[in-house]
Each structure stands twice: as C-alpha cells, then as structure tokens.
C-alpha cells in the first residue's frame, strides 16, 4: 500500500510533465521557473536544516567506539575505529562517507533450532548502496557537460572513463548500468526483505521510484528517443549563466526528466535524503574517543540537587562512629551553607533528607 502510494505519486508527476510538454505556454515554467525554484528550495532548505541541527549543542561526547582505545603504549589502538584525535576522526569519517564503512560490517542473522543464532556476512546492501551513490556522483559530474562551456577536462575525463567499453553509439556508460542495477536492487530489497518491508514508509519508496524514473528517462533520451541535445545544452548553459532561454519545443521525455529532477531537489531538504548532510553531524562518529584526555563542556550543564558529604555524614554519624570509619572531624550537624575545610560546599538549597 505504501509502495503503491509512492508509485501513484511518481506516476502523477510523470503525467503532469507529459501534459505540460504539450502546452507551449508551460514551456518556460517547466524549463526555467521550476528548476530555479527547485534549486533555491534545495539550497535554502538544506542550509536551514543544517543550521537547525548545528544550533543544537552536543552536550556529551558519545562516540561509538568500534575498536581498541588509545591507552597503553604497547597496545595498538585502532585509530580509524576508535580515534584518539582529529586525524583519526577525519579518517573515520572519510571511510564512512566514501566507503560506507559501517554498512560493510553488515551481517544476516537467523535463529536455528533450539535458539542457535547463526551470523552470516551480508554485503549486498553495502555493494548496492556504494554503487548507487558513486554512480550518482559520476552521473552528476558527467551532466556538467550540459551546463558549462567549454566542458572542463575533468568532466570529459569522467565521461571518457565511464564510456570505456565503447559499446553502442552513443556509447553506453558503466554508471548507467550500475545506477540502474543498484536502484533496482534497493527497490527489490524493500519488498523482498520482510524486515525492511515492515519498516518502509511512503517516504522510502517515493525517492526510489523518483530516481528510477529519472534514470529511466535519461536512458530513454540518450539511447532511444531522439532528443535535441543542442537545445538542451543551450537551455542548461542559459540556466547556469542566469540568462535562461526556454527552448521552443519540449520533448515529453525531457520534460519528465527535468520535472522529476526538480521535484527531487525540492523534496530533498524535507526528507530522509538529508542523511547526505546529517552523516557529518552524527556525534557517535564525528567525535574522538578522547573523553578522559580532553574535557568536553556541556553548554547547558544541568543544575541539579546533589547529596553533599556533610548531609550524608550527618545522617549516618552514629553508624560511621560505630564502624570506626573516620569522620570529617566537625561535630554534627554541619550547618548547610558553611563548607567544611577541604570539602565542597553543599549544593544550593540542599537540605537533609531523612531516610
């Protein structure tokens, strides 16, 4: 049902795009106004989101340690799993963001007869996630050739390497395969894995279907439906140089591609896709495990009632004496607010609480 809702939403968007392509008056809306609005919402929304996170303090240093701490010199610490300093944290975050380190640990558990718990390695999720995210980055880089003239060398290089196998005209990109397969697997997994299916929301299916449609329309334009690449490049360069000129005609496939990309951008800051930015702010990963070496300060340190030693000694005075445990020295009861030598003052407002 949730997947169906998401599918309907994407189908609706496709319908809108196809319809809009038939109305010449809507051309500038789809090709100029919408992309600009989407980019603006994307940037602004993401900034607002990140600022909101960043304004919340990190009261405690709650690193999740996934390896040996730095303690004794003869014990080898695992700086990438339990970093003792900034360099280690950078390394740990780089591994996390670039290689999906934590996902690489993934296992699959099943419970056999008599409660025998069996663990197996499970790397498909890691592989598909890595393939998807890296392909997306490369595809986006390749797309810069539409927006910039002359095309930067790096973009050409990416395109060249990506089309290395030189199959077909125009040549097939490796990333085209990779991103399609990866997205297909991730979608398949949401249905086929009962645990994932159980927790999946509309908001999980929707971006998947959106991305699949965007990729599909892209493939369609490059390899099947003849598209006026020159006109698209003119539009893209116009957009990026703030001299937008809507093309005279709009192919339905391109309209779908552009509209869905715009929706994706605008949807991004309000969805789980913000994990792209959020991962950098995750306190269990981006803090060093140097808790006992460097004091971490909590800006809202709670002002609480603690139990002062004097109160405690007062309550147990006779038992302490009987047990021969040395007393602080001053005769009981100590007056609250008068600190005894060498002892911290009782907490403000502290009163003796009878047991």
């Amino acid at each position: 049902m949730r997947a169906f809702t998401a599918l309907l939403l994407v189908a609706g968007l496709v319908g809108i795009a196809v319809a809009a392509a038939r109305v010449p008056a809507l051309g500038p809306v789809v090709t100029v106004a919408l992309p600009y609005a989407a980019v603006a919402v994307f940037l602004l929304g993401l900034v607002v989101r990140v600022v909101r996170w960043a304004r919340a303090p990190v009261p405690f240093r709650i690193t999740t340690t996934c390896g040996q701490q730095r303690s004794l010199p003869w014990l080898k610490s695992q700086e990438l799993e339990s970093p003792s300093g900034t360099l280690g944290v950078i390394g740990r975050m780089a591994l996390e963001v670039l290689c999906f380190r934590s996902l690489f640990r993934n296992t699959r558990v099943r419970v056999g007869d008599g409660g025998r718990v069996v663990h197996g390695d499970r790397r498909w999720l890691w592989l598909a996630a890595l393939a998807f995210h890296w392909s997306l980055l490369l595809v986006l880089t390749r797309h810069l050739r539409f927006f910039v003239e002359p095309v930067p060398g790096l973009v050409l290089l990416v395109q060249h390497v990506d089309g290395f196998f030189q199959i077909g005209v125009p040549e097939l990109f490796v990333t085209t395969f990779a991103i399609t397969l990866a997205l297909a697997y991730l979608a398949y997994r949401r249905f086929a894995n009962p645990q994932v299916r159980y927790v999946s929301l509309v908001a999980d299916y929707f971006p998947l279907f959106l991305l699949l449609t965007i990729v599909g329309s892209g493939i369609l334009m490059r390899h099947f439906a003849k598209t006026d690449v020159a006109a698209i490049k003119e539009l893209a360069v116009g957009l990026s140089t703030f001299h937008p000129r809507a093309p005279s005609t709009l192919s339905p496939v391109f309209a779908v591609h552009l509209l869905l990309v715009s929706v994706l951008l605008a949807y991004f800051p309000f969805s789980k896709l913000v994990h792209m930015a959020g991962v950098f702010l995750s306190p269990t990963r981006n803090l060093a495990n140097d808790n006992r070496a460097r004091r971490h300060v909590n800006p809202w340190d709670p002002d609480v009632k603690t139990h002062a030693y004097e109160e405690w000694e007062h309550e147990f005075h006779d038992k302490l004496t009987a047990a021969g445990i040395p007393l602080q020295g001053a005769p009981p009861p100590p007056a609250a607010g008068i600190p005894l030598q060498g002892a911290p003052p009782p907490a403000a407002g502290a009163t003796s609480q009878g047991g």
Binding site: E96, S282, H296, E315, K319, I325
Partner: protein
C-alpha cells in the same frame, strides 16, 4: 521462579520475519515476564520526581496527568534543542534495515518493534506529527501519528525493552544510536512519572547511602571485613582495606554489587589480592561506595546527581587519582559523562602507576583509570608473579560488556590479563565479541526477576555464542568485566547452555597471583579446589 515455565526449545522458536504490514493498533501486550514493574511512589518522592501513585503497566488505564500531551511535546521540543544527537537522528534514518537483526531483543523475541529502526520510529512518528510540516499536513502518509495514551504504553514497553547496548549503532551507516533514543524516550516517560522500580529504587538508594544496594556505612565496612577474613583463610594474608582514609594516593571505586553478590564477590577478593601485593596506598569511600549509576537509565540529570559524590570524595580525601573496578555502565558514565557533568578534576593529578611509573596520559583530564588498564600495565612490566596453572580447571572465554567495548574501546587490556593468568583461553565468534559484542539482555536497569522471559530472550545471542565455544573448546567459564553481567549471566547461561560459570577478570588474576608470604594455595578464590575433581 517464572523460568520454570519456559524451556529453551520453546523460547528458542523464533521467526525473524515480521508480518507484511504493521497496521495493527499500537498496543503492546503487557504479558508477565516481559515488562518491569512501575516505580514505587516512595522512591519517586525521595528523588523529587513526579509520582503516579500505585499503578502497574498491565493496567488498562494508566494514571496520566491531565496535561500529559503538553508535557511530552514540550519535553521533546526542549530535547530537540539540547541534543544534536536527537535532532539529527530524528531526521536522517533511511530505514535501510542494517540495524534490524543486530538487536539482541529482536533476535531473541522476533518482535518487529524491537528492530532498532522501529524502536526509533516509535518516537520519530510522533516527532513528524508535531515537529515537521509534512507530518502535520499529510499525517500517516508522511509516517506521522498522533500522540495517544497507546503511544505512551508502547514507548514504555519498548524503551524498557532496550538495554542501551549500542550494538545497532556500530552497524548504522550514520551512527544512529538507539541508546540515545531510548535514554531520551525514558526521560520523556519520567517527565510523566512513569518509571520502573528496578531503576528508581537503586537510584534512590544511591542518592541516600551512596550505593544502589542501600548498604549503610557500617554494612559496607562489615562486608569488606568479611572479605578480608575470607581472603585470609584462602591465602594466609591479612590485607589492609582502609575506608575514608584521608591522604591516600588512590581512591578505589567499585560497583557495590562486588561486596554483596556472587560471583562479583570473588572478583572483589581478586582486587584485594592485587592491591595488597603491589602495596598500593588506596582507600575505599563509604559514601562513594558505588561507581555504578542507574541515573544513566533514567535521565541525564540523574546521572549527574548520582555521580557527583565521586569527585567530591576524591577532593575531600585528598587522593592523587582514582581507579575504578570492573563494571560496564559505570564505566560508560565515568568515561563519557563524569568529567563533563562533575569535572574538571583539576584538583587531582594525572594518574601515574607508582609501581611501573607509567603515566596514563589518556586519562589526563578525567584522572580516573580502569583497574584493567592498571593491571595490564603491571603485567606487561613483569611486576606481578603469576601462576596461570592455578586457573587450569577453567577453560575461559571473554565476554566484552557493551559499555566498555562500545563506549570506551577497552578491548585488549582484559585480554592481555586473561592470557597472562590462565592457560586455556578461547574467543567466541567474531560477530559476537569486541565492538560487536552481544548484551547480557539485562542491562540498563532491566535485570529484574519479573522481566525474566524478556531477559532470557535478549540474552539468547550471547548464550548461543557461549554454547558454541563450550561445544567446540569445552569452555566452562565466561570471564567479563561488568557487574550486571555477573548478576544476570549465570541465570542466562544455566537456562540456555548449562555448565558454564561466570567470573570477573580480576578473580582469575587473584587466583594466579603469587603473593609474598602467602600459604600454599589449595583453593581458588571461590574456596573450591584448584584442580577440577575427577569424574
């Protein structure tokens, strides 16, 4: 004992495939054995917490205050501003499911709401409904739901069915930490006065007497004296155990269970052997008579209230630094919270071993070290005379406690000790140790008798790994460094495995330690013959 009702075959039948849809009403069944009893009013009152009088979770009607929704929503808004962890974790989960089968409670119960992602969604769905535009407008389609009394019951059931062990956060690609979610979820419930007694009572005891068990100073003294006598019988040596001694070099902090329960007590004897043998000038404190801190399972404020006495006593007694004994959650507090909440400890000195001269630079701010760090350093420098053959009746495996593994990274120190003090040591499978270690199933204040079925279920993955090394290597002793482990793993292993006992690392050290002037040892610290009896 309700365990008689269960058999391993029956509890071990678990299907990890959730139903196709979760659109069943959010009503957990408060079945006996799967939940903890509510906090007693007297304990709530002692700590100055709101009390809901006499009630139990299985009751149909919960005594919620009139403005309970306001309290919860204000509490959430406040915490979203105070904890970046919460703010980020509410937004970035992609429900990839990597955490799903990493939770011991899910593995042991098959209850889909015990998947960490789903546990967090219990809170996230309310967050969406009241704190995001999409949730306010679209409701259920956006994964949002109204805050109803059923939601509160569900939170109570599942936030007290998480031991804050953080195993899921190891596997999460964004490091989302369910312990944070659970801790804050429990804080919210506590705003309504909905706590459990197994947490509130120890906390109240701890606030009053200094320790969870409520041992008053004379009992603290008596129990230690008893241990001294016992150790004298075993070793022929009378050790010194000063209490509240001013000017000692080291304040020695233990979890109070070490002088109260077994097998903790044998570990306590091990500490005494070690501290005596190296001639450390140390003192106990009858006020800071507990390093454990059930505040961790209640609220961040309560952590601070219960922890304050440790630095206060270190200052009053004028010690140079602090050593802490074997405990799991105690060390999460000492490592990740104490300095922030009750520091700075600038009145102490950077810990330096008086025996080896090693400066524990990694504790240069908090100025408190783990006894295992201290002992591993002694062993490395050859300062201890050890006879590992005294532990030859044991085939040992090591269980990392969640907190020392995933909140400290103290993995190799205990292993270095174990390799030096016993001849037969075997690791459990790698998916079940070190940072991937499995919880005992009873941590975070859930180790109570009425919750036994859920504890046995939660402990299944740990027990299963123990059974594996028992069958493969003949393991008959599980060593650990956690007081809650020692209190609850014997029951767990008896149920699922059988024939495996539980000990602290320093118990084995105490067995192996050849002390100057000791009599020929014939028994171990358990007063059992050193060699296994035939047959």
């Amino acid at each position: 004992m309700s365990e008689a009702k269960h058999t391993p075959a029956e509890l071990g039948r678990i299907d990890l495939r959730p139903p196709r849809s979760d659109r069943r009403p959010a009503l957990p069944e408060f079945r006996k054995g799967t939940y903890c009893y509510s906090a007693l009013a007297k304990n709530q009152r002692y700590l100055g917490l709101p009390s809901r009088g006499e009630w139990q979770p299985h009751q149909e009607q919960w005594p919620l205050p009139d403005n309970w929704q306001r309290i919860i929503l204000d509490g959430m808004a406040d915490r979203l501003k105070r904890f970046r962890s919460l703010a980020v974790f509410m937004d970035i989960c992609v429900r990839c499911g990597a955490c799903a089968d990493k939770c011991h409670f899910f593995i042991g119960s098959g209850d889909p709401k015990n998947m960490p992602v789903k546990r967090a969604e219990l809170l996230r769905s309310v967050y969406r409904r009241y704190f995001t535009t999409a949730g306010r407008v679209l409701g259920g389609v956006a994964g949002a739901r109204d805050l109803t009394p059923e939601v509160i019951k569900e939170w109570f059931y599942y936030f007290y069915q998480c031991t804050e062990c953080r195993r899921c956060s190891v596997f999460c690609p964004y490091g989302i930490d369910t312990a944070e979610i659970t801790m804050i979820g429990r804080e919210l419930l506590n705003l309504l006065g909905l706590g459990i007694n197994w947490i509130t009572e120890p906390a109240a005891n701890c606030f009053r007497t200094g320790n969870h068990l409520g041992l008053e100073p004379h009992t603290f003294r008596d129990n230690i004296d008893f241990a001294v006598d016992e150790l004298h019988d075993i070793t022929g040596i009378k050790v010194e155990t000063p209490i509240n001694k001013k000017g000692a070099e080291v304040l020695f902090i233990i979890p109070s269970a070490d002088i109260f329960g077994t097998p903790h007590y044998f570990t306590f004897l091990g500490y005494l052997c070690l501290l005596h043998e190296i001639g450390l000038d140390f003192t106990f404190s009858a006020f800071a008579s507990e390093g454990g801190n059930f505040g961790l399972f209640h609220s961040h404020e309560m952590i601070k209230r219960l922890n304050a006495k440790i630095y206060a006593e270190a200052r009053r007694l004028g010690v140079k630094f602090i050593i802490g004994a074997e405990c799991g959650h105690m060390w999460r507090v000492l490592h990740q919270y104490m300095d922030t909440l009750n520091g700075p400890a600038d009145f102490l000195e950077v810990p330096r071993s008086p025996v080896t001269g090693t400066v524990f630079d990694h504790a240069r701010s908090t100025r408190m070290i783990h006894l295992a760090e201290f002992a591993a350093d002694l062993i490395h420098h050859g300062k201890l005379k050890l006879d590992p053959a005294r532990n030859d009746k044991w085939v040992v495996t090591y269980h990392d406690s969640c907190n020392t593994a995933r909140a400290m990274g103290i993995l190799e120190e205990p292993r270095a000790i174990l390799r030096a003090v016993c001849n037969h040591f075997h690791e459990m499978p790698e998916n079940t140790i070190r940072e991937q270690t499995f919880c005992c199933g009873s941590g975070s204040g859930l180790g109570t008798e009425e919750n036994l079925e859920m504890r046995l279920r939660g402990g299944l993955p740990r027990a299963s790994a123990v059974r594996y090394v028992k069958e493969r290597h003949g393991v008959n002793l599980l060593a650990c460094m956690c007081a809650i482990d020692k209190a609850t793993l014997p029951t767990l292993l008896d149920f699922w495995v059988g024939g495996v006992e539980v000990a602290g690392v320093h118990e084995l050290l105490g067995n192996a330690l050849v002390m100057q002037g000791e009599k020929a040892r014939t028994v171990n610290l358990r007063n059992e013959p050193l060699v296994a009896e035939e047959g």
